[in-house]
Symmetry: C2
Subunit: 244 residues, 2 copies
DNA sequence: CGACACATTGAAAGCTTTCAACAGATGTGG
DNA sequence: CCACATCTGTTGAAAGCTTTCAATGTGTCG
């Protein structure tokens, strides 16, 4: 079995921990229950409790919270290799919704399977918990972005974060990546109006930094984009040895 | 031993789970290493890793992230009964700083002590993880607030959340509570300028909803405050049975 | 008393939203 | 195959919320 055949999750974790044959096998076995979901129909609804988590293997998902006034705030996007609802399985019922942005493929993981896997391979458990804590760090960074960055920097930061996340699972490079999000998704995620998202994107494009168009992000000038966003990828990378 | 002698954490957890004598004893034993920290001096610095977590027993702390341009975003406040750095112990090094807002008292909990306690009393482990997931839900709600609520609603929501959190540990009621935060703290937490915080507070006061003054929050009209904030405390409460 | 932290206000400037209108692509039903 | 509705993207202009700049007041503390 060559590396490219591995799941995105395996690929992601392998970038940070050298997993043994046994650990890889356990990890791949978690992918047994294949499921598909169609774009636009919520997988999990706000307040609904679920007994399973999912490992996203293809497609994009967003997790969001709806407000009484009808506006929504997207909390995070999930791309291949990401867990979906990991927390609600380990801890308690989810309090936000998950919506597939395109048709997706995911592996359903029952709580018990996950706990068994953790018991069998503690290093794998650590690796998965690391991934979960990385997701959390992203939410915090997202909070900082909405609270303290202006629209341009916020967008720039967001696009760079995505580039970094996708590169980790081999779905793009520093030069660009495919991205199925609409400007409405960006607006709901960044706390902006769709109209302003459009203007910000235009400005980023015309300043020669990055182009978001036709489902593809093209990074023209990585340095100046990083500069504008004050992007520091530390929160995405592992600091110090992950496993002793 | 009467209830009032218990630590705030015990009090908080007891509101959701009936803990046995043994569990209560284990929980109280976690409070053995008493530590004090003075206001204003960071307990943990961004990027610094720590081997211990703390259970806050008296005083207020904030966790924040500093940006390159000098602005800061406060991610969360900790009040008595809250954990501090629980995640960085369980998972990986913290990526934000903790600053005591007033002189505080906290119990230092070593990783190993915590894991021992978890092993001895699984129900206690679940209860503590529940508290951690509640903290996370607050961060998400915070994100929603900054992204999708205007300044008035954001402030109203924040003050109501604090009321609810403090009531849980017996430090206030629906009518008000003591609060050592300055308007600068509010600004850094809510993503507003200090000047605007002042104006918002004035408006809330003059509309007869709530007064924030001299270290004390007085809620004059709870209903209209809830109404303005669209405050739904569901994310703070347990949905369904916590322990089977 | 002077230094300093915190709170308060007014006015001007700036960023973002809202309102409106329009263009292009896609998909469905007649 | 066309008409029509829908979704997404685009743009201008006006309105609105929030910030910035400046100045002032109040209280604590050494």
């Amino acid at each position: 079995m060559t590396l490219v055949e591995h799941s995105p999750l395996t690929r992601k974790l392998s970038a940070f921990v050298a997993l043994s044959e046994v650990e890889l096998a356990v990890l791949e076995r978690l992918h047994e229950r294949r499921r598909s979901f169609v774009a636009g129909r919520d997988m999990v609804h706000q307040g609904q409790s679920s007994q399973a988590a999912y490992i996203l293997s293809a497609g994009w998902v967003c997790s969001y919270k709806l407000q009484a006034d009808g506006t929504r705030q997207i909390v995070d996007f999930q791309v291949p290799g990401d867990f979906l609802g990991l927390r609600s399985v380990l801890l308690r019922t989810s309090d936000h919704s998950f919506e597939p942005i395109v048709d997706i493929e995911a592996a359903e993981v029952m709580t018990s399977d996950l706990l068994d896997a953790f018991a069998q391979t503690p290093r794998l458990a650590t690796a998965i918990l690391w991934a979960a804590s990385r997701d959390e760090a992203m939410v915090v960074e997202h909070l900082v972005g909405i609270g303290r960055r202006d629209a341009d920097a916020r967008m720039a930061h967001f696009l760079l974060e995505l580039a970094s996340r996708l590169a980790l699972v081999g779905m793009g490079s520093k030069d660009g990546y495919d991205c199925p999000l609409t400007q409405y998704h960006l607006a709901d995620a960044l706390g902006l109006s769709a109209v302003h998202v459009n203007r910000v994107l235009r400005q980023l494009r015309e300043s020669g930094r990055v182009t978001f168009r036709d489902g593809h992000v093209t990074i023209h000038d990585h340095d100046r984009l990083v500069d504008l966003a004050e992007f520091d990828p530390a929160y995405l990378d592992q600091i110090g040895p992950l496993l002793k």
